[in-house]
């Protein structure tokens, strides 16, 4: 068996040339050249890696009691997030274990985390899926300060969660530990990996960062800006959502029936009704704004800051939250940082200016560590909307050959693409 494995590895080396070199769009073969389309529609089903179906995966959700004091401090309507839940997929015998950290606001069971799970499970790993430190459940159940955004703090919270996960399954035969994350989860993974160098609970063998933000402030500024695009068709009576829904309705009328499958999105974008770049940008921006609204509300409520929810406002299961939702929706990433993150950072850590904060929470803070750690690699896309000028240059300088840059894919649109999937498995195998 090991001989066979070695042979396969050798064959893979011969067949796939060193992928550190930049691929051209034609070599790469990913069909969606529009970064917004790629981000929304992701990989066409026919071009995805073969992965096991859910029914073939031995998996279950578990919960951890990490912050018992919150059980008294949080309103009743938070009952579902007083314990942190996560998902573990286990192999039948000894195997390596990989932790997957979800992206901004992401739940452990969201689509991208699930598809990474299927990929790694199919390749013989135990897989643990974790919610993002910026997600509602993580902030409520696992975060010490409940104000996500300080990468080193988030890494400590995550590390504690990972240790608790390991402790909850003492009999799970793990041969070695790996770590990965996408989007903001990739930035988290880098900081967790650095923390692990001193704490040594896992000794991660390989760490893969998929589409990480480089300068966190550039990324959030880009995302904040996406909802500022000029979208045609909006007037006093028609909102942006109605413009999009109207298009969908007309499309369905033409087709005669509704089928909401993945192939539909491609057909739709081929039709004359397709969304413009501005409209897609606005959609992507909106998704992120909803995530910030959740963070803003949850962080404010738990810390009783009184910015969104008046201090000591009684909230039970029947309480209308719409007024608070509306207030939270007015706050974008920049607003969250200035109103909640920076004040907390200053109070807690004697923090300074915004520029210093950006330096501390971005990949810049790990420059030396990234340069010296052969176990870390980055996969990124040349057309990722969360990057700014110079970010890819930073990655090239810091990681050299360990950066794989794909010419297309938008933001995490090519995770499931065969080529990417094979590169991921190859990296962890090697």
């Amino acid at each position: 068996m090991p001989l066979l494995l070695r042979l396969t590895a050798l064959l893979a080396l011969v067949v796939a040339p060193a992928h550190a070199a930049d691929l051209s769009a034609a070599e790469y073969g990913f069909p969606l050249g529009n970064p917004f389309e790629a981000t929304i529609a992701t990989t066409p089903p026919g071009l995805r890696m073969q992965v096991p179906s859910d029914e073939d995966i031995d998996q279950a959700d578990y919960s951890l009691r990490l912050r018992p004091e919150r059980e008294f401090g949080l309103p009743d309507s938070f009952w579902a997030v007083k314990r942190l839940r996560y998902r573990l997929a286990r192999q039948s015998g000894p195997a390596p274990l990989i932790f997957i950290i979800s992206g901004t606001g992401g739940h452990y069971s969201n689509g991208k985390t699930e598809s990474l799970k299927r990929l790694f499970y199919g390749a013989g790993y135990h897989v643990v899926q974790l919610s993002s430190p910026t997600s509602y459940d993580f902030i409520s159940a696992a975060s010490r300060y409940a104000t996500p955004g300080l990468s080193s703090d988030d890494a400590q919270d995550l590390y504690r969660v990972m240790q608790a996960v390991r402790a909850q399954h003492p009999r799970l035969p793990v041969t070695e530990f790996h770590l990965t994350g996408y989007s903001l989860g990739a930035l988290n993974a880098a900081f967790v990996s650095q923390l692990d160098e001193t704490r040594r609970s896992f000794n991660f063998k390989k760490v893969l960062l998929i589409n990480p933000p480089v300068n966190l402030y550039t990324s959030i500024s880009n995302l904040d800006k996406l909802v500022q695009t000029r979208v045609e068709g909006i007037d006093d009576n028609t909102t942006f959502y109605e413009v999009v829904l109207e298009k969908l309705t007309r499309y369905y009328r033409q087709r005669g029936h509704i089928d909401l499958d993945e192939a539909m999105l491609y057909d739709f974008q081929q039709s004359p009704l397709k969304l413009s770049d501005e409209q897609m940008a606005m959609l992507i921006g909106s998704v992120f704004r909803f995530s910030v609204a959740d963070i803003t509300f949850t962080s404010d409520l738990i810390n009783r800051r009184g910015l969104i929810v008046p201090q000591d406002y009684p909230i039970n299961e029947g309480t209308r939250l719409e007024p608070f939702f509306k207030r939270a929706l007015l706050c974008n990433f920049d607003c969250y940082i200035t109103e909640q993150l920076i004040p907390m950072w200053r109070a807690q850590y004697d923090g300074g200016s915004l520029a210093q904060l950006v330096q501390q929470v971005s990949l810049y803070a790990l420059e030396d560590y990234l340069r010296q750690s052969p176990k870390i690699a980055v996969m990124h896309n040349a057309d990722d909307v969360i990057l700014g000028p110079g970010d890819i240059g930073f990655l090239r300088r810091t990681l050299g050959e360990r950066l794989t840059l794909y010419p297309r894919g938008g933001h995490c649109g090519n995770l499931e693409y065969r080529v990417n999937a094979e590169h991921m498995l190859e990296f962890f195998r090697g």
Binding site: A26, G33, S77, Y136, M282, T319, P389, G393
Partner: protein
């Protein structure tokens, strides 16, 4: 072989006119932005979307939490047990059987909405699946190019202009409106009356059948409470429900 490749390359270059020395393509470069970066379209659109007629919100929210708990502690464990004891073929058969029963209300409602083509589709599905598919256990009709296109009485009422009325969360069944609740009762009555394959009669005396149907409904429904992972899940589900119904009625 080479020509399409070349074409693809040139197209790729046409789509990404700008690549800097790092290889970055500056995806936001060609977007039209609002000059002041101060448009509040996202806020305006979302506020308007939140505006759903929901006078019984307090009750609905409590019912929502009740359903959430019921789901976590009863429904999902039941589904897990069901998955554990039955092979996949059996589960698919069960789903097909109940979905075949559902063709009766679809047929009735398509007719009531004067949708001839859809009524014929339902009739054909019903015949093929009941006869070739052995009482609906298999679904050969879908493979023959007759997709399932469900219509319910709530949609019929909507089609004839009945307003949706207040939003309601029904115990165990989840999001609905006054109109759709009436629709649900209507479809139930139709099923009782028609008594297709003597199911209605059998399920009257046999609680097990009804339980199996409930478990199957949960098994085939992808929604999981908490998956949106937002403190505002209630509002989001409410919006999605009301819009989805509008789409279904308009279609």
């Amino acid at each position: 072989m080479l020509l399409p490749l070349l074409l693809a390359t040139s197209m790729a270059q046409a789509q990404t006119p700008f690549v800097d020395e790092d290889g970055f393509t500056h995806p936001l470069r060609n977007l039209q932005f609002n000059p002041g970066l101060d448009q509040r379209e996202f806020e305006r659109a979302t506020f308007q979307a939140l505006d759903v007629y929901d006078p019984f919100e307090s009750f609905n929210r409590r019912m929502y939490h009740f359903n959430y708990r019921l789901d976590q502690w009863v429904m999902l464990p039941a589904v897990r047990g069901y998955v554990y004891v039955t092979p996949r073929v059996v589960r698919t058969g069960v789903s097909n059987f109940f979905s075949n029963l559902g063709e009766i209300p679809t047929l009735v409602n398509s007719t009531l909405q004067l949708k001839g083509k859809r009524a014929m589709n339902a009739t054909a599905r019903l015949l093929f699946n009941s006869i070739i598919g052995v009482g609906g256990l298999w679904d050969p009709a879908t493979r023959m190019g007759l997709p399932r296109q469900p219509e319910d009485f709530g949609q019929t009422l909507g089609y004839w202009g009945v307003p949706e009325g207040p939003y309601l969360i029904l115990p165990a069944l989840g999001p609905s409106t006054l109109r759709d609740t009436l629709g649900l009762a209507g479809d139930f009555a139709v099923e009782r009356q028609v008594d297709y394959l003597e199911y209605a009669q059998a399920s009257g005396g046999e609680l097990g059948l009804t339980a199996l149907r409930l478990v199957d409904i949960r098994y085939t429904t992808n929604f999981r409470y908490g998956q949106l992972n937002s403190p505002f899940e209630y509002e989001k589900v409410r919006y999605v429900y009301s819009r989805a119904r509008e789409l279904q009625i308009g279609e």
